[in-house]
Symmetry: C2
Amino acid sequence: MTTTLPGLARRLDSIESSAIRDLLALTARDDVISLAGGLPATELIPVDRVREAAHAVLGESSSVQYGETSGWRRLREVVAALQSSVIGRAVDTSEVVITHGSQQALTLVAQALVDPGAVVVVDEPAYTGALQVFSIAGAEIHAIPIGDSGMDTVELERRLAAGLRPALVHTVSNFHNPRGVTMSESGRRHLAALAEQYGFWILEDDPYGEIWFDTPPPAPIASYSDRVVRLSSASKILAPALRVGWMVAPKPVCDAVELLKQGADLCGSSMTQQMAAEMLSDTDWLATHLIALRAEYGRRATALRTALDSAFGDRLSVSPADGGMFVWASFDDGTDTTILLPRALEQGVAFVPGRAFAESAAYAGSARMCFASSSAPILREAVSRLKAAHALS
Amino acid sequence: MTTTLPGLARRLDSIESSAIRDLLALTARDDVISLAGGLPATELIPVDRVREAAHAVLGESSSVQYGETSGWRRLREVVAALQSSVIGRAVDTSEVVITHGSQQALTLVAQALVDPGAVVVVDEPAYTGALQVFSIAGAEIHAIPIGDSGMDTVELERRLAAGLRPALVHTVSNFHNPRGVTMSESGRRHLAALAEQYGFWILEDDPYGEIWFDTPPPAPIASYSDRVVRLSSASKILAPALRVGWMVAPKPVCDAVELLKQGADLCGSSMTQQMAAEMLSDTDWLATHLIALRAEYGRRATALRTALDSAFGDRLSVSPADGGMFVWASFDDGTDTTILLPRALEQGVAFVPGRAFAESAAYAGSARMCFASSSAPILREAVSRLKAAHALS
């Protein structure tokens, strides 16, 4: 048989497979310490509480049957209550859709709001999973650099004034993947005002907002405008395997996403949604769990930054690590991280080269390093291997 | 705020919401016996075995972490072995992708193989979830009537000879939803030969194949050609809430679907996939469970058909019920089931009018009735209410 695939399949061939997936292959080697992944620490996932939740919800047969497309109602209520508190206004249950991880929300929102050929503005560097979604949607992608305060909204305003007309602006507002930074309050206000002025949607992608170390991030962009579709997830705070993400958006967007989700998968798992509802509404347990998670991730972030500083000094600029799972490290000595990577693998350490996150050569000297999935001693060993690889280059 | 949604969202407004979803609303009324749903019987879902599987897999922390996009490897192996036996050739693990229910496979296959404007052939009447997917994909949909032996492949051949050039032909091969029938072996061979001759893909949608009452259905269409993408699911035999479906297809199609799935949701739930692998590989338990499931569904099918025959006699033709979850009943006395439905609801019984499954007025006198989710006495009461509604009309 000659297998011929029509247009989209051919187009897919030209879309580079997400760096996330390809690099999972590297992390599988036993002798490699991987700072390349984007997984939460397996040992910090509360598997006992997950098992308890499974046992509890499987006492009712509703947990094994099909459920509503927009999500298990009780979970939507729990998310609406939590998000009301974060956003600072009453979020109605009808403004919440539960999705199969927030990645599904990204895809369905792109299908609902982005026509082929429409302009989408993204961060540079950007979350590769978002780039892939917007490429598949056929969007014309414009990248706006992000600095230490998140997306450069002054640059965005300049381009808007010059005629750029995006349908959607996507940004990871808190503890950016891969850039590590958090958007300032003034940046959020500015972006919200631009959305109102120019009539675009903001896709506020916030998987890491609850993983802050010393102080919570500023109020979400959704606090300043209702032209915001706000995404978050249980993957980083409870367990990825629940595949529970959520979207808070104006009802017409929720309705369109619900209809698309019906075609996409009929509904999510009643079981894992009920489990998420049980854990998220167990407020005392959740508060204690988050305190422990923040403390341990904070220790790991400090360990990695301290080790990098001690190993490389002025030759390496490392982003702040106020939360989330990543630091962004940039060599100032001409090191090309794409060339460094194979040497690093020989020494037994992996990271993601900056080029994976943007077309621009500006990131050739940068790397994303995940501190979440390794303990402090392992992180120190990883940096020592990285130093050896760098010395050989 | 004025909420304006661009092109796709506007187009969605014109796609009728799936009858399945809208009719779930009817089933919620306590005083209505619903034959309208498409849910497996809640009381026959093996919730104790599901709980046991959850307990077992949650002993390993891999069950709560992210997993591979193409599916949990062990589950792919188990499915490959089961499908090898059904199809009658060795299916390689690389030819299996696990999806979030087989509905997700439908959507991703449509994205991979159907360009906007491409021709897709569907059954008439058709599974509404497939119609929705192909509409969203922008396909030009051609319906081929199905009779007592499944899709009329002679009519399809006539249209192919006249110039019809489908990219894809979708059919529910076993215990058709909504039509109740099973495609004959000769029909399967014919369709496979046409696919080879005219170069289209067959999407063999088979969620009900394991739910046969007296004899298993003929070998799948995938036995006769490798231009077949074969879908099935754990939803009807284990539990819908696992959201575990699978696709068996040539590797290039699997690769395209895997890449699209990465954008769609990164991966499925490690937990529910591991649970499905555990239950599907527990062959003694599975065999016993399927025997019990087939026997009870068979009793229900017989109860519904007998009651309909006794109540309406010659005025109603009822499809055979050799398996699956539905019968297709057609009034021969001029009854319009769309007009009958509100009267039936007044009497406390619901079904899906034939018009929901096709544009054609030919199905105005027909109805889909689900025998799976009600016990035999309830089904008899439902028919008695239906008779009362019919007498009033």
